[in-house]
């Protein structure tokens, strides 16, 4: 086996890096040393092969690059339309994209903002609805009687209207009239006052049923009016009697809608001018049937009052007749008013319509 030094010499010889004397010496060795010659020839072949290999490889690489530059790259450059279009218009496109993004974002924000606002206004409306109810019960329809009355020894805090349900001392009025009452008195048109207790209340229909407890109360003979079991018709002439002030006040109008405040189906809307104190008054049709009970009015709308439907009253009474009313009563079904003139009708019923006087601590 030849040494590393021999190899180096072979390489130098093949690269023609030996000087003249060294070359001669080496060639002489090749002729005498057959082993060296063998190695030399092998190495020569290897080296030629390596050189050819490297040449071919570098040529191949060059050609690959040319191919890439001329075809692949060119194609990418040409790469048609899209790239050209992109290069020409990317600025415009960027601006357009930003604008549309901005528009989209601001639209979404605006819509959300609107939604929030709508929700808020809805809440506000709902709140106002509550406020309306409060107003209705406190301001609109309860007459504040803080001012002392000559007749009364002790002035009532609030007053409303009520009317007889039966001949034996049951009266009906609006619940909001007697709400929070310490004591309730009823006063007829002859200024006779009787103490009453609340025997039933229904928040939903806003009605309360009172029973006179004063022993001196004289029972009525019979009620002149009856309670309508059918709904009233739109446009029907209706009237009411009530005590928005000391004297009884007559009001008339028409049945203007089959539902009450904000679509309340237990009530009618009627076009009767009502004032604080009218609450609890009867709503009668032309024949003198009770078709409802005045319960309130809408503050924002002129001439829109509401009345609880007589059917609601009837169903509530039927419900409660079972247990809570110890004596019990029957609703009058016989109407004595039909065919009478309005004036005569009023004469007949005015005794049955009373002022409800409410006292409380406040």
């Amino acid at each position: 086996m030849k040494t590393l030094k021999d190899w180096e010499e072979i390489e130098l010889y093949l690269d023609a890096k030996l000087n003249a004397s060294e070359t001669t010496l080496f060639e002489q060795r090749l002729q005498t040393d057959s082993e060296l010659l063998q190695i030399f020839l092998e190495h020569k072949k290897m080296k030629e092969s390596l050189t050819a290999y490297s040449e071919r490889l570098s040529l191949k690489q060059k050609l690959e690059k040319i191919h890439y530059d001329q075809f692949v790259y060119e194609e990418q450059k040409k790469d048609p339309l899209f790239k050209v279009f992109w290069l020409q218009h990317y600025k415009t496109m960027a601006v357009a994209a930003s604008v549309s993004l901005l528009v989209a974002v601001s639209t979404i924000m605006y819509i959300n903002f609107q939604k929030v606002q709508t929700r808020q206004s809805a809440n506000f409306k709902a709140l106002r609805k509550d406020m309306d109810k409060i107003k209705r019960s406190q301001n609109a329809l309860i007459n504040n009687l803080n001012a002392p009355k000559k007749i009364e020894i002790a002035p009532a805090n609030y007053s409303g209207t009520g009317f007889a349900l039966s001949n034996n001392g049951y009266f009906i009025t609006s619940l909001h009239v007697i709400k929070d009452a310490d004591s309730v008195f009823i006063q007829n048109n002859k200024n006779q006052t009787y103490r009453a207790v609340t025997v039933f209340r229904n928040d939903q229909a806003d009605i309360a049923i009172l029973k006179v407890v004063s022993p001196d109360f004289e029972a009525y003979s019979s009620l002149p009016y009856s309670f309508a079991s059918k709904s009233g018709n739109l446009g029907e002439h209706v009237f009411t009697l009530g005590y928005p002030r000391e004297d009884m006040v007559y009001g008339e109008g028409a049945l203007s809608a089959a539902s009450g405040f904000e679509g309340d189906t237990v009530s009618y809307q009627v076009s009767i001018p009502v004032n604080p104190g009218n609450s609890g008054g009867p709503l009668l049709d032309e024949k003198g049937n009770i078709i409802g009970l005045i319960s309130g009015k809408q503050t924002e709308t002129e001439g829109a009052a509401f009345a609880v439907k007589s059917q609601s009253i009837i169903s509530v009474i039927q419900e409660l007749a079972k247990d809570s009313l110890e004596e019990g009563f029957k609703l009058n079904r016989k109407n004595q008013l039909s065919g009478l003139s309005r004036v005569n009708q009023i004469k007949m019923i005015k005794d049955y319509i009373v002022t409800i006087k409410v006292y409380n601590q406040d």
Binding site: M46, L50, T51, A52, Y53, S54, R56, K62, L63, H67
Partner: protein
């Protein structure tokens, strides 16, 4: 440049002067027709690229040989070589060779030249195989020295040898192994 060097004589002269830029000209002028030929005769664009590059390499190596005499146009020569190689390749792939559609006149490459082409190709694949079998770091070391022609000091720096002598020893060992592998390849091919 492509405007300046376009005649066959100029191209040959440029190649002999190691002006590799002329390869670009060859590509531009002649790839198209060979691409067309290969694709028409059931080849792909990649096949066309391979065959054309092989043909250019053959041409290049022949031109480097001062004894070589080109007795036709470069275009015809490249086409003929490509055609021959493509036929060989499709014959290898399938027993039946359909009708070959030609677009150019071509010369017949004589057997000795074809044999030379084949020998060079074989040497190349033998060396590729041997180098692949050699593994790292010997493969890179050998390639750095013989292909990239880096100096021994550059190589020792690159491979982290303490001095050029160490690198030389390492190269010697690698070369010994490569020689064994290379001649083993040769035997294998001869069998």
């Amino acid at each position: 440049m492509s405007e300046v060097v376009s005649s066959d004589e100029e191209i040959i002269q440029a190649l002999r002067n190691n002006d590799d830029r002329v390869l670009n000209v060859l590509y531009k002028l002649y790839f198209g027709s060979i691409n067309h030929f290969i694709i028409t005769n059931s080849g792909s664009e990649d096949d066309a690229k391979d065959i054309f590059q092989e043909a250019v390499i053959v041409f290049y190596q022949n031109i480097k040989d001062q004894n070589f005499e080109l007795n036709c146009k470069i275009k015809t020569y490249l086409y003929s070589v490509s055609r021959l190689m493509w036929l060989k390749r499709i014959k290898k792939a399938s027993a039946v060779v359909g009708k070959i559609t030609d677009f150019e006149g071509f010369i017949s490459i004589d057997d000795s030249e074809a044999a030379l082409m084949e020998e060079r190709e074989m040497q190349f694949s033998k060396m590729s195989a041997a180098l692949a079998e050699l593994g790292e770091p010997c493969k890179t070391l050998i390639e750095d020295f013989y292909v990239k022609q880096l100096s021994m000091s550059q190589i020792s720096e690159k491979f982290g040898y303490t001095n050029a002598d160490n690198a030389k020893t390492q190269k010697y060992k690698c070369l010994m192994r490569l020689k064994k592998l290379f001649f083993k390849q040769e035997e294998r091919l001869h069998i």
